[in-house]
Symmetry: C2
Subunit: 330 residues, 2 copies
Amino acid sequence: MKKLINAPEDVVPDTLRGLAAAHPDLRVDIKNGFVARADAIRLGKVGLVSGGGSGHEPLHAGFVGYGMLDAACPGDVFTSPVPDQIVAATRAADGGHGVLHIVKNYTGDVLNFRMAAELADDEDIAVSSVVVDDDVAVEDSTHTAGRRGTGATVFVEKIAGALAEEGAGLESCAAAATDVNERSASFGVALRAGTVPTAGRPGFELADDEIELGVGIHGEPGRRRGAMGTAKEIVATAMEAIHDAKPLDGRLLVMVNGMGGTPLSELYIVYAEVADWCARHGVTISRNLIGNYVTSLDMTGCSITVCRLTEDLMRLWDAPVRTPALRWGR
Amino acid sequence: MKKLINAPEDVVPDTLRGLAAAHPDLRVDIKNGFVARADAIRLGKVGLVSGGGSGHEPLHAGFVGYGMLDAACPGDVFTSPVPDQIVAATRAADGGHGVLHIVKNYTGDVLNFRMAAELADDEDIAVSSVVVDDDVAVEDSTHTAGRRGTGATVFVEKIAGALAEEGAGLESCAAAATDVNERSASFGVALRAGTVPTAGRPGFELADDEIELGVGIHGEPGRRRGAMGTAKEIVATAMEAIHDAKPLDGRLLVMVNGMGGTPLSELYIVYAEVADWCARHGVTISRNLIGNYVTSLDMTGCSITVCRLTEDLMRLWDAPVRTPALRWGR
């Protein structure tokens, strides 16, 4: 294993150290395990908190900032954050109008966020939780009961974040987050597994001509292993799986997301095929996002996430955002 | 070789097809081999054109847009664009106040941009050229006489682009570009080579415990092969090489750039060490950029580029930019 790290056990704190050095508008509390906006608690605004295992950067800490998350708590690599971290992040995000927890559907995350919500309730912080479960590849995987939460998390965080910034209340933000999740679907493909630093070798093995169709962001098995195909063939498999689960119509927001080790040129090639597929199926892509947003360490491969937009969701997607990983409009 | 592509020979046109589908504010002319701003020629503004071999995405086409390049011409993978492409891009960027060519110092690029400048001159388009040669690792490599041009290209394109947007004349833009190049220095490290699609196998081989120190963005040999070290050790080697060539002082702009296959978390770990190194050496990082900007296909590794800022250069760096790969302030 060759990685640009100091020691396998220091990967998370060293990443946070870099984040703190690079972004003075973030408050990085390594001791208590969270990252928050440095402009502190905004009274009267609903706070947004997310988190989960590390290894998916820029998710989640890279989405902390104006118009998106107020705080994020990174666990160890592929390990849920503990309730104490989540409570600390919740306190840091609470401006007196409640806090929305955005939770990817993995058993550990769901349990620990639930426990944290109860602890926050003891401190009279109102918490509402939304569980993201957009990955249509499989039901009940190695890490989850039900569908896994992946790329739609970015959409949920962005859109609920914009709504909170506009002054919406906790239940409105939660309803929008739920709506975005229900309107979204994802499908991922791995060409090569990522390597957990403390494990030192790839999480699974694929033959030279083999890919994992429907892979999870921790390397969980997908629907099946298949032969390496063209970008066009891989996109057809992914888009058909998405369309079968949640029929596509109207105007779409599409993310082509790299798994960490995939060059941008390949993501654009995939996007070209997604655009072709949509044109052939009579659906319009109104907004897009192409790059590394929900990664799996150095896995090569990509995921495609689609959300059926409404007028209102498009407006919230377009609203200004200023975070390390997503920035426009200011 | 497993890549998300359709066919090795289609990688460049398919990438451009994706770029066109994703970014309606770009005019992607696949036939003539250039990408330009769709808002067309802006009369009275100096035009900025860059280009070079493909395989370094988002460089250069990802930097076309408001506040940066007016046009870019991508060659085949690791192959210079031909003069006809460069002339077409130059025409597309010419608003009657001349065009600045920003050329990375590789023999083919320099020759072809020079020939294109002569052809443009025949059409009464005034062209000024700046050659970027910031890579301090080696003199006279396999692709270059003198130093190679790498990460500073991003700084030159951004800062000269901001100046052109302010209405500066051709010679002012060229002078600023030259100044930024002279104030900048880069050093790259490879952990694993990238694979040219038509070659189908990595460009060079490194042992499991070996890295290439001072590697070029086409996989050119660096100063030496060394043992895999910690991020702290690798950063020390890179920063000392940079500091030896161009002593660091004052306030710096620092880019930690991924080579294409390196996860963002590792780039942040590297940035943490760069920040530590600078703090120990009494220099201040005033601005930073962390991510994949000048890649080498799916190479793993990173490069560090440093520019000694002036007050004016910092203002131009901060000015609004709106391109696929760099966007802030609007």
